[in-house]
Each structure stands twice: as C-alpha cells, then as structure tokens.
Amino acid sequence: MQWEVVVGLEIHTQLLTQSKLFSGASTTFGGAPNSQACAVDIALPGVLPVLNRGVVELAVKFGLSIDARINSPSIFARKNYFYPDLPKGYQISQFELPIVEGGQINIQTGKNNEEDERIINITRAHLEEDAGKSLHEDFHGMTGIDLNRAGTPLLEIVSEPDMRSSAEAVAFAKKIHTLVRWLGISDGNMEEGSFRCDANVSVRRLGDDTLGTRREIKNLNSFRYLQQAIEYEAEFQKYILETGGKIKQATVLFDSEKRETHVMRTKEDSHDYRYFPDPDLLPLIISSDWIEEIRASMVEPPDLCFSRFIDSEIGSNGKETYALSKYDATMLTVDIDIATYFEKVVRIIGRKEAKLCANWVIGEVATRLNQDNKNITASPISPQQLAELILRICDGTVSGKTAKDIFNTMWDGESHTSADEIIKIKGLRQISNSDEITKLVDMVLIENPQQVADFCRGKERAFNSLVGQVMKKTKGKANPAQVNDILKERLKKKN
C-alpha cells in the first residue's frame, strides 16, 4: 500500500534580547543558578509583567520577512499548568490574535532543481515565555530548580501540515534556522536550546484528502534527530495501520539512542490549558508607523540576496547582481556573514570576476574555516586581503595554484602580510616572459623524446606530462596557460 507522510512543525526560537520578555533580568546563557531570576520571574505576589519593546520588534521582523500579517491589537493569554519550573502556575503566551499570522517559506529539497521547490505555509508565530530548568540529579531525593531561563522570550513558529517527508521537514527547519540568524533575531544555538522543534506526524493513504490521526514528537534539538524521529514515527504508524490497528493521538518523546519514539501522554490525559486573556497585560498596539520603522531597519532577507546573487541583470533597485550558479548562491547565503564577506571581496575586484571570488569563498576560505572550526567573522584573512590575492591571479602575477599556497601562508599566522609582500619575499612572481618559457619548453622536448613520440602517436596524456616537466623547471612559477599554448605550438611544428 502507498502511504503519504504528513508533517507540521512547531519551532521554538529564543529571541536575541538583553532582558526577558516581561522583566529586566538578564537573558545571558550560563549564569550561576537563579542569579538572573528577578521578582517577576519567580512570581512573587504583587509583581506585574511589563512587555519588552525589543521582543516586539524582533517578532515583527520575522513576520515581515515571511510576508505575514502583523496583528494589532495582539493579545497575551495565560496557559495554565502546574510544574515546579513554572512558578506562576501559568505561562504567558498568546492564543487569540498572535503577533504574527500567515506568511510562507519556500524550501528546496533537491539541488538546483526547481521542481523540488515547495511552498510551506506558516499558520502563526506567537510570543511566549520560556520555563525554568529542573535538575533531576540527586539532591537528597529532591529536584533542583534553576529559574534563570524562566521568562526568556521565545517566538513559537507554527507551520501548516504542508510537509510530505522528513527531508522536507528538515529543509523547512533549516530554512527557518537560517532566516532567524540572518535577521539577527535569534542566535539559533541548538546546543543551548535556543532553537527546538516539535513535529506533528501522521500518515494517510496516498490520494486521501483527510488527515490521519497525528502524534506529536516533542523537543527535537538537532536536524538529525528531527529527521530520524519523523522517519521512525512514520514507519511505526504505517505498521500499526497495515496490521489493522488505529493511531491514538498522543505526545511522544524521541529516544535518540534507541532511535525510537515512546508515548509521554495520550489525549485522554492531555493537558487542558484553560487559556484566557491575561488581565495583567493590555492589548499590544503596533502602529503602521512603527512597522515601517522596523522594516527600514531590516537587512535584505536571504531569499532576496540569493536571487540577486544568481541574477545577471542589475535589478530595478540598482543593487549589484553576480550571475552565479544556484549552487554557488546557496553556499554563499547559508549565513549572512558569508554573504557579506563575499560581497566585500567582489566589490573590490569587480563583478566580472564574481565566479572566481565565489570559488575562493566557498572553496579555500570555507575549507580552512571548517578545519579551524571558526566563523567567517573570525577569519584571519580579511576580505580586503583576499581581494588583493585574487587580483594577482586576475592580472597574471601568480597562478591559481601558487595563490593557494600564498593563501595558506597568510592564513597560518603571517597575518597582516599582504599577498604582494609574500610574492615579493618568496619570489613567487609568475614567469610570463614567452621567450623564457619557449627556451624551457624546447629544453623539455629535447630531454623527453619518448613522451614527444607518444604524443605524436595520439597519446593525449603525454602532453600533460610535458606540461608538468616545464612547470617543474620553473618551480611552478610559469603561467600554465602560456606553457600550454607554447608547448602546443612547438609540438605542432614537430608533427
């Protein structure tokens, strides 16, 4: 039987603010327990929450970036449940009139293939406060509570059940992850819990219109777990249905070691949160002037940056375009810092050499960053330094291969040295004098009669070997293109 997997995601992303959603306590990660939990966060009687303006601005930025509606008024609600890391006995969240409603995200599951492009609709994104942390290690049979995280602002992004595979769910989650980091609204740090996913999974017979009963997998904090959990869950549900069983709505947890899901609670004992508007908080009004002010402060969204990188015509907005391949543009827009670095380099060199610049940023720079586990903002080679080096390839001073050696020399500590200095000190200037090269080519031809004969008999490989011999004689400093040309010409004469 053919089955279709249906997935919807809920993503909790921590907003990048100095202070909490409703209090002036710090949100810095890793403080001593309870050192950043003030009277509001620990719910002392008589305190009042006061909304953080910065949080509203970050949520609006997200809404604008996905073409969503910004609700005004937007209201806060109490979600009631009991747990020791929730001191008020309720979480301030949003139910009716969330700050962001609607909007959409484009995802690609294949490489360079437009057919693999899909639109995922966003239901809503609402603001809510995070809970504290329970430490179940042994405190004489008791549980330790750290409330530093209580009240930290979260944006919960809820998608429609528009995804049809684990791969699509991962592509969507990654897209949101890139977007929130790009916009600067979240650091997206998954180890610290700043980006966590819940997946609603159901299966149905291919062609069915109605959705199957779903089970919700909670708290997936890596893309790999997200993929594995959905795959396991879908297989499990197919098996149950194929053997005549029924799916019961439930909340499940993913065991990453056993790679399976197990039930946390079923619908019968699911929480009834008794949402109601929080009487401590008035409706949030977001004026259109304020929205425009926020829009004006936003960086170019990643999708627009991507289109600009692949476009060949300069757009109506007069912004630079680079006619890159989709693959190159994808690699350069995984992160705003990489895109910015690339543009700094290409602005110095000129858009004609955009492809060469892209190759360097995606190739050498990315490789070394990976090896050193560094972010591009911490690159020992500045965009200016890289541009100077690439310029020396463009003007024929050094070959691409020599340039790579210079790049590595610069990277490995001889910082603040320019490419020009290294070329001068190490005598790496390319030999572009054709008389000199011709002399060397002739010498190589005399020294290697066998290869010459092989080439004349049609063995192409002999040619490369001869080029190699010439390069060796110049210690790699000859212009390879020129060597090729001269060698071809001399061999033609022999033929």
Binding site: G24, A32, F139, G144, I145, R265, L284
Partner: protein, 95 residues
Amino acid sequence: MAVTLEDVKRVANLARIEISNDEANTTLDQITGIFSLIEQMELVDTSKIAPMSHAQGVEQRLRKDEVTEIDQHKLFQLQAPKTEAKLYLVPKVIE
C-alpha cells in the same frame, strides 16, 4: 449552556483545588447563576459594536530592552523552604 457537577470537579482537579461534594454542589449553583447572567447579556445585539478590551482604550506599555535587575537570589531564597547550590529544592517530579 448547562454546567454539570462533573465539569466543576474536572476544573477543580485541573486547578489542583481539593473540594468536597458539598463544596462542588455549592460551586455548581454559583457558576450556573453566573452563566444565566451571561445568557441574559447575550440577548443584547452587539453585532454592530466593535469589541473593546478596556473602558478607557488604554494600550500595553512597553519597556526598553535593557537589564535593570540585579542578582537577589540570596534575599529571595530566604523564603524558600529548601535550597542547595543556589537552586530551589522541590519534591521530586518525574512525568
């Protein structure tokens, strides 16, 4: 809308309030009274009136995103029944 004794007991349970049968019955009477009042109010045609959240049309006040609080855990923890390693200790909870 009729409220039943079961509803009252369920809400009490969700709110972690222990109530006796007598208390539940009294509460049921009171809630039923409130509901009939609401039913009466619902008879008024409000279809042409925009909903409002506050009699004076006030809106949510906002604060600047800055840290204004200092670490007062020592003071706060004076009231806690049990603490250790700066943590509040509570009876063990496992779902």
